[in-house]
Symmetry: C2
Subunit: 144 residues, 2 copies
Amino acid sequence: MLSKKTKYAIKALVVLGKNADQPPMQISRIAEEERIPKKFLEQILLDLRNAGFLYSKKGAGGGYSLNKDPKEIFLVSIMRITDGPIAMVPCASLNFYHKCEECRQETTCGIRDVFVEVRDATLKILSETSIADIIARENTLINI
Amino acid sequence: MLSKKTKYAIKALVVLGKNADQPPMQISRIAEEERIPKKFLEQILLDLRNAGFLYSKKGAGGGYSLNKDPKEIFLVSIMRITDGPIAMVPCASLNFYHKCEECRQETTCGIRDVFVEVRDATLKILSETSIADIIARENTLINI
DNA sequence: TACATAGTATACGGAAGTAGTAGAATTTAT
DNA sequence: ATAAATTCTACTACTTCCGTATACTATGTA
């Protein structure tokens, strides 16, 4: 399961993506529009900022805006920051690999083999879908 | 992430699948062979039994054996019993659907739309892969 | 300079979930 | 009867998640 943190992070990036041509947007406004607890959102935006996705400006008239083209922000990168691994078992993770303590022979583990496949399928989607894509999807969905 | 419970469940079913032609296998033996804490495994096997996947026999000479053809036990069913939903967001789940409290319009949510796609890709693999397949994969992997 | 605005940073706490343990009850073969 | 095995309920320790609190820092404007 995706954590709320990750879901909120994506929502915030989507809102900021729609706001791309406007001046920086305040945390409170994002929190209100997306119904995200403000103080929780603060932490999340900070993480995204420290990871280089957001630009922030302090003080009066400050706020957050995207630091990258929405086309270049992919779900997989966000999820790795906020949730960690994409794979469902640590031994099948590319970026957060961890050996299963109880496994005798990883190389011949059929379970791992299946979950590597699942990981690849998931990864394909998440690494091809950007914030811009999500915005585009929403526009399409509205017209159905 | 898959819980250890689910991973242990799959491992136990695989062992029992390999043991299919033999008399029932004791919990202690499965626990030893797969290095799973015995009392924890007890609970897991009980769940699988109550879900109809296992046959159990009490008393001397008792133990567990598969109650179905290993070809008919699919990962998706095991995971739904031990871990619950397959989807990464509750609003994209088929069997454990739950509305996101903060969402205004689910039907036009781009995030949900992407994660429905991820769910379908995952589901395709997990609902096509059986215990028999995992055993077959292991045999293939050994010969590489 | 004073002040309000807005992000930065760290720490804390409740709730829920995960992993595993304990112990007694029940069933069955010998 | 007895020993071997599963069944069942409850409990505990640990961790993570979600959200809150509080103090601090930077910036624009009057």
